[in-house]
Symmetry: C2
Subunit: 117 residues, 2 copies
């Protein structure tokens, strides 16, 4: 099986099934720094990344923006001095899809490879 | 008196006085789309801007990032599909400084001039 970060998003239709609790628990160990949060009744996955300054944080935001555009799946990105918080969920199904975990893994890979995470 | 957006941030020391309620109320009409929010007991000014897509939202985030670096004063920037929420406050004084309103006005000017706001 290929690593999660090597996968690509599949088109997410409004009637696509949300991940079950069991499926979420099976995927989380592959992205151990991420946690499930719930906002407005919608489960999301979220992680904060640390940086040396604002410039590096914004550079990471842009790298995540690039893969978001490439995959057609977009997160919330909270950029602050020395910190970026990334939140993924699937708007169309108001919940979590495997796509969200694929994108989480891709973010981790960018951080590890290019930001010394 | 020069327009707020033409001003520059002054160095903010930890013992600089926070803006009084009266001073805040006098400045808000100059940035009418901004509102005062309080988080963790800290007053901040915040505005959300709308965009046609994610790419434009991220472009705006980068423009705000540029002026933040130039002025040495950094906001929280929440970038989402078609939306950026900017939050300014002065970390050193845990509250609002005139600098925050100057930066708010500069953000408005970028939006109006370059994003058709």
């Amino acid at each position: 099986m290929s690593a999660l970060h090597e996968n690509h998003c599949e088109a997410c239709r409004p009637d696509a099934p949300r991940l079950s609790q069991g499926e979420i628990e099976a995927l989380l160990p592959e992205v151990p720094h991420w946690r499930v949060v719930e906002r407005d009744g919608i489960p999301m996955v979220e992680r904060s990344y640390a940086f040396r300054n604002f410039k590096d944080a914004l550079a990471f935001t842009n790298r995540v923006g690039e893969i978001a555009e490439a995959e057609g799946h977009h997160p919330d990105l909270l950029t602050a001095w020395g910190k970026v918080t990334v939140t993924w969920w699937s708007h169309k199904i108001k919940g979590l899809h495997r796509n969200d975990f694929i994108m989480a893994a891709k973010c981790d890979r960018i951080y590890e490879d290019d930001f010394g995470g």
